[in-house]
């Protein structure tokens, strides 16, 4: 891990030095031991702020759309899952590919803050993390903690298709050769098998909780509309009142706007303050797009685009 960090800082410093990039977006130490926070490095003198550890959960690609009007190139550090967001943005013509310098880091999986917080004292500052195979030794200013990786891994990392970034101009760290574990949608199938009444009860109780903070939308590399329909004043597509109906309209519409475009980075799920399993909606759409239209995982290749923005004459026919 130390080697990766060194390599990362060197790469960033070189890019900034040679003016190959004006800013490097990466992760820096956060306010707690097992948190990192996005950092924006503009000077080679500050590259020491960049870190790499198993707590680099934030997807950083969304910031590209924030900074796209900035002069010069933008370098962004990505994990495998985030890297699909790069192609999402380029396919959506949000940012040209040649404006972005992608620094890819192969990733064996990231740890969930919530899971860690229930197992150890996460306050204090991080001193070091050691990978002990099955376990992780986390050394913080509050003491050393050993946690079982399998117990604190983010759910999305259990079924990871891209440990290695799908796109990278510079790769730091060694390629990970563990076999990808494509999701076979077991969980979705479980939900599909429920009765209509059970499904409704489950989802309504989830939607009911929503506080409409729009964090799921704001973190999403697929949500880059200049004016989101949920912000539009005229017409008012969705009422501002917080109730289960308007919340449901929001969630179904949000999910559907990402049908065939969602790169399944799982960030929406992570950022939700109310723990709504947003990813279950996205996954369902991914599964259907794959089954019905033979869709590749969105964002995994440079070409492509929105599955719903294309058609084939021989698409399945149900409406007769």
């Amino acid at each position: 891990m130390k080697k990766v960090i060194e390599n990362l800082r060197e790469t960033a410093a070189r890019l900034l030095q040679n003016k190959e990039a004006e800013v490097v977006i990466g992760w820096g130490l956060g306010s707690e031991a097992v948190r990192t926070q996005p950092v924006f490095i503009t000077s080679p003198d500050n590259v020491d702020k960049l870190v790499w550890n198993p707590f680099c959960v934030n997807g950083l690609t969304k910031y590209l759309s924030d900074l796209k009007t900035r002069p010069g190139k933008i370098a962004v550090v990505v994990k495998g899952c985030d890297s699909r967001g790069i192609y999402r943005l380029t396919q959506d013509n949000i940012i040209p590919r040649d404006k972005v310098v992608v620094i890819g880091i192969p990733c064996a999986g990231q740890m969930s803050y919530t899971k860690l917080a229930s197992k150890m004292d996460v306050s204090g500052q991080l001193n070091d993390v050691e990978d002990k195979g099955e376990d992780l030794l986390i050394k913080t200013s509050k003491g050393d903690f050993t946690v079982k990786k399998s117990e604190v891994l983010l759910d999305k990392c259990l079924t990871c298709e891209h440990h290695n970034p799908v796109v990278a101009d510079h790769v730091v760290g060694d390629t990970i050769n563990t076999c990808p574990t494509p999701d076979n949608y077991e969980e979705i199938k479980k939900f599909e098998a429920m009765s209509t009444e059970e499904k409704a009860r489950f989802w309504l109780s989830q939607f009911e909780r929503c506080i409409r903070c729009y964090a799921c939308r704001n973190i999403c590399p697929g949500c880059t509309c200049r004016e989101c329909i949920f912000d539009a004043i005229k017409p008012d597509w969705v009422g501002k009142e917080i109730n289960v109906s308007e919340n449901e309209l929001f969630h179904l519409t949000r999910a559907f706007h990402l049908a065939g475009r969602c790169v399944d980075c799982g960030e929406c799920d992570r950022v939700c303050p109310m723990d709504i399993p947003i990813r279950l909606l996205n996954k369902k759409l991914l599964k259907d797009c794959k089954e019905l239209f033979n869709m590749e995982p969105p964002g995994s290749t440079e070409e492509g685009g929105s599955v719903l923005g294309q058609y084939r004459l021989e698409d399945p026919e149900e409406f007769m």
Partner: protein, 340 residues
């Protein structure tokens, strides 16, 4: 009124009794998260929780609430204010949450008293519960709040192991205690000392944030580059404001189902959203995330002090925990202090 004592095993009966004679709002757990909800009995009320995700502010200033209904087909338009709430008891508010309600009082119970809020406030008896433990994100001490004090609550319960110390803080609390006198006994006099011991861990464990000089510094930091720097990673979502126990900004919107009958409601709004300050015609005083996060932190730590004489933050730690990008108000406070 003298301090009372409640056997721990009797707590459920007490809550049952309260729920039986009126509305009871208490923290319960569902889908793994703790929320305050109206409950029918003491069944399922959680006590070892540390902070509900949504503060009990929601029962005084709900995220959305009807203000009045109307019917434009009526010659007088039949504008009718919403009926008030029933008498109710809020159980389980933490000291920081109680303090936040006092801060909201400063806003809503000021010039132009807000009848909708005041009605809810008057009809609610607050039973606060001291913190025996705290979350790693707690820093209420910075704002002079103690895990074992709850000025503003009507009754204060403190877990002393086998029993609760019940402190009666107001007349309203005294009435409620009298109603439940069959379950309460007089404290043996050891309560207050035991309370100090019981809340000590919460005092020690919490983050140590010192606000000395922060307000004075912020007075001169409107143009400081720190805001631009910190705002870069902000997502512009409303999480921090919607889970904040002291945020009180709202929007007013009309609803009608394509008929003459409709209602006007208000719903929580966030200063982090672009639409918050955008005027008709497009004028936008806070065009970017920089201005918006500056407004949030300045409002809590500077403007609120100037206007109401107190900080607009209670150190509950909710936003620290839930912010997706670790934009941490405690960290900001520390950074402000480092500014030369």
């Amino acid at each position: 009124m003298a301090n009372k004592s409640l056997k721990k095993v009797q707590l459920k009966s007490l809550l049952d009794k309260i729920a039986g004679s009126g509305q009871l709002i208490a923290p319960i757990q569902s889908d793994g998260i703790t929320l305050f909800k109206p409950v029918q009995s003491g069944e399922g009320v959680v006590l070892d929780y540390q902070n509900a995700v949504i503060p009990p502010k929601d029962f005084f200033f709900p995220q959305s609430e009807k203000m009045f209904s109307y019917d434009t087909s009526d010659p007088t338009w039949a504008i009718k204010p919403e009926e008030g709430v029933p008498e109710r008891v809020l159980f389980g508010a933490r000291p920081c949450d109680v303090k936040s309600i006092l801060l909201l009082d400063k806003v809503f119970d000021a010039e132009f008293r807000d009848d909708i809020y005041i009605d809810k406030r008057n009809k609610t008896t607050i039973i606060a519960v001291s913190c025996n433990d705290c979350r790693h994100t707690c820093f209420c001490g910075a704002f002079g709040i103690s895990p074992g004090e709850a000025e503003g609550a009507d009754l204060l319960f403190t877990d002393l192991g086998g029993r609760y110390l019940v402190e009666v803080l107001t007349d309203k609390g005294s009435t409620l205690a009298a109603e439940c006198s069959d379950l309460l006994s007089d404290d043996d006099g050891n309560g207050p000392a035991a309370k100090e011991k019981a809340v000590a861990p919460a005092k020690e464990k919490q983050m140590n944030i010192d606000l000395e000089g922060v307000k004075a510094k912020l007075d001169n930091m409107f143009e400081h580059p720190i805001w631009a720097e910190e705002s870069l990673r902000c997502l512009g979502c409303g999480t921090c404001t919607f889970i904040c126990p002291t945020c009180h900004c709202f929007d007013i919107v009309d609803f009608n189902n394509q008929s003459s009958i409709g209602y006007r409601y208000r719903c929580a709004d966030s200063c982090q959203f672009a639409n918050f300050t955008r005027a008709a015609g497009g004028h936008q005083p806070r065009p970017s995330k920089m201005e918006r996060i500056r407004q949030r932190f300045m409002h809590k730590l500077r403007y609120f002090v100037d206007r109401y004489g107190d900080f607009g933050c209670v150190g509950c730690g909710r936003c620290l925990e839930k912010c997706p990008v670790n934009l941490d108000i405690a960290q900001i406070i520390n950074k402000v202090k480092e500014v030369g």
